[in-house]
Amino acid sequence: MTDMKKSPTEQERVGVYVCHCGSNIAGTIDVDEVAKFAEKNPNVVVSRNYEFMCSSTGQELIENDIKEQGLSRIVVASCSPHMHEKTFREATERGGLNPFLYEMANIREHGSWATNDKEAATIKAKALVNGAIERVVHHAPLEKIPVSINPNTLIVGGGIAGITAALELAEAGHHVYLVERDGTIGGHMAQIDKTFPTLDCSACILTPKMVDVGQNDNITLLTYSEVESVEGYIGNFNITVRKKARCVIEDLCTSCGDCEEKCPQKVVDNDYGAGISTRKAIYRSFPQAVPGYPVLDKENCTYFQTGKCKICEQVCPTHAIDYEQKDEMLNFDVGNIILATGYDLFDARKIPQYGYGRLPNVFSSMEFERMVNASGPTSGHIVLRDGVTHPKSVAIVHCVGSRDQNYNEYCSKVCCMYSLKFAHLVHEHLPGAEVYNFYIDMRTPGKGYEEFYHRLLKEGTHFVRGRVAEITDADRNPGEENKLIVQAENTLLGQQQRTPVDMVILSAGIQARHDAEEVSKLFKMGCDYDGFFNERHPKLAPVATMTDGIFIAGACQGPKDIPDTVAQGGAAASQVAKLISQGTVMMEPVRASIREDECSGCRICNTLCPYNAIEYDEEKDVSRVITALCQGCGTCVAACPSSVIDGAHFTNTQVFAELKGILWDVQEEITAKQEAI
């Protein structure tokens, strides 16, 4: 490191802190060796390793060293800056230094967690730490830039999560744009009959909230609409929404329902009706729909398909039908965004051995929810596919598409509980019927959940511990004729068991929305392998995301039951409310600036800037950065032919220094050879 001694900045007094993160780092990286190595750098005056740098004691180490050892620069080697950069900047500041005189070396996510090779991990850690040291000595004190927060909020998804969040904010006096893809809000909760474990009627507790949303002046409700584009950043997002043409003039429609009643075209309702009920071509998903005006489904409308009919137009007393209606583009600004886009149910057709779609009396869980619902196609009667026969025996199959490498590896969390609920509902509706629950493990964590399981045990449900292998109508033994045979091992007996039943219900798991990937890209945030949106921190920031100003709530973040979903809706709302009441947030001062005296006025940067944040001064023949508009991407910095644009906190000098630093070992070889020559 002879050349480092020549470093012009060796007068800087750097403190280096290597974090063990328990065994997360220390288990793979020799933190002691790394700290000792750092000490050798001429700029370093203090080099420590400590078990948990993010702990208050860890932070105090920094603060005290700054005061006592007169440190001028701080380097912490621990986790990702996206995890704790803020923490240590604040510690640096409390110590009396400008927070930007601090640099982080990510030796956990990019180091100890990414390899098992201890030696290699330690070498890499040394490199990253050295890079940070070399970089930080070139840091300059910076001031954060205040950004004002637009008090309006966009909420995407009108399920119980979105509804909760919208009401929380609206009732706190903030304006909300609630965007829902379907014709009505309500989401999955509007489809289901009873909620576990309390068994209160889902619609009864949901619809009042839906009405509140419809009536609250602080909520702009945009149903049958989808977000087209999202521009900007925290506090200042610009949103474009496509309001799809429902062919109904909302101002004229009185929601009388005549059009729906008279429409001659019956369609199987695969959305709200889960495919076992029908609706009309112009329809409201259900009577309590909010808003009350219907949607005209062009694919199935006789007029749109054949050019004849127009019955709805004739019967509409207020002439609210408009076949010419076009999609409408709405544009508005918001300060924050809450995504509550919910989930899709696993498609049981993907498991052929369960016969769903082939065997009529195999039902999906949502089909059963609709069937057992008083407002459903059978007005709440549990019947076979023929629509009349009551089953004498019902098998409920857990873990359909969950806990399975072939489909979804994770546990869907709610299926055990709703399967128990189904069992109860069958007992309640058909007292004589036998009910069998086939499960791998009974998972009932939650208030009153285990008690509900015990209640079902007492109600006489048969619980078979064994994952169902196949469901067939091929009878083999006497007593199986014209039945569905559920074949599984009763693992507690170690015996294969064939259970003949009349009806099978497949408890399908929860999946990310089929288009979750595109949505996450639209909002510039991440999803995990399963397509669920990534929270900022799994424990400590469950509703925040890596993108400031964007929050998530409900099952779009992972399988969740109603209580947890409502809790997250509220949590997201309060996070937004906090930002609104702050009024402004401090933004990273990572901005470009042009040294005008050296600018040649070539204007290359002007056209490159994606935010038109660079203006050209005719008189002086120089370009100038409009700091308020600059987002700090640095494209102009890289492009400037005369290198007179500085990207604060990412200056060429800083990057070059870091580069040299992380290549210390290979550097040594080279310099050795250089000196040889």
Partner: protein, 194 residues
């Protein structure tokens, strides 16, 4: 590769995994869900359901595992394998268990069980001719181990097969038998059984 974090001396499960091609290490991840046993066509006739065998393997009950008739009752239908939620190559593991049982000389204890002899009869034929043929195997197998049923066979179904001209008594030999024998001889040196 396996993700196991333990560095304990190899136990029964480790040995079995090492001896099985494919993603055998998934066996570590067995959920004991019973999908395999529920799917198994011959499951009801097994001493232990496949799932039970895996539990026994994990508990290191080597003798009981290798003495069990379970692997010998596997019909290689692969239902368990395609349905296993942990993608365990169950059928291949059953083959491994058969080999280990033979090596350990265990299968002989499973008296009602003729499987190993059957496999061996079959193997002899193949090694000496390069070709086999179901009925030859069947007849020889029965003549060798169950003369009585062989007679029944010869007069019953066997007879029909002969009259239908579907049955040979000597298989056709391949031309380059020495080559095959050389290959098999070398292969056996390289770790014959298991």
């Amino acid at each position: 590769m396996t993700d196991t974090l333990t560095s304990r001396p190899p136990t029964l499960i480790d040995k079995i995994i090492a001896e099985t091609p494919g993603k055998a290490s998934n066996l570590y991840a067995c959920l004991q869900c019973g999908t395999c046993s529920g799917s198994c066509p011959s499951g009801p006739d097994m001493d232990h359901s496949p799932r039970t065998i895996f539990a026994m393997i994990d508990s290191g009950l080597e003798d009981q595992v290798l003495m069990s008739n379970t692997p010998w009752y596997c019909v290689s239908c692969y239902y368990c394998m395609v349905r296993c939620p942990q993608e365990i190559p169950i059928t291949d593991i059953m083959y491994t268990l058969k080999r280990m049982a033979i090596e350990a000389g265990y299968f002989r204890e499973v008296d009602q069980d003729k499987a190993p002899e059957f496999s061996e009869t079959f193997m002899d034929l193949v090694e000496n001719n390069g070709r086999s043929f179901e009925l030859g195997v069947v007849m020889r197998h029965h003549l060798r181990y169950h003369p009585l049923s062989a007679v029944k066979l010869a007069t019953g179904m066997g007879l029909k097969m002969i009259t239908k001209g579907r049955m040979d008594f000597t298989p056709t030999k391949i031309k380059n038998l020495p080559q095959l024998k050389a290959i098999l001889k070398k292969a056996k040196e390289l770790g014959g059984a298991a």
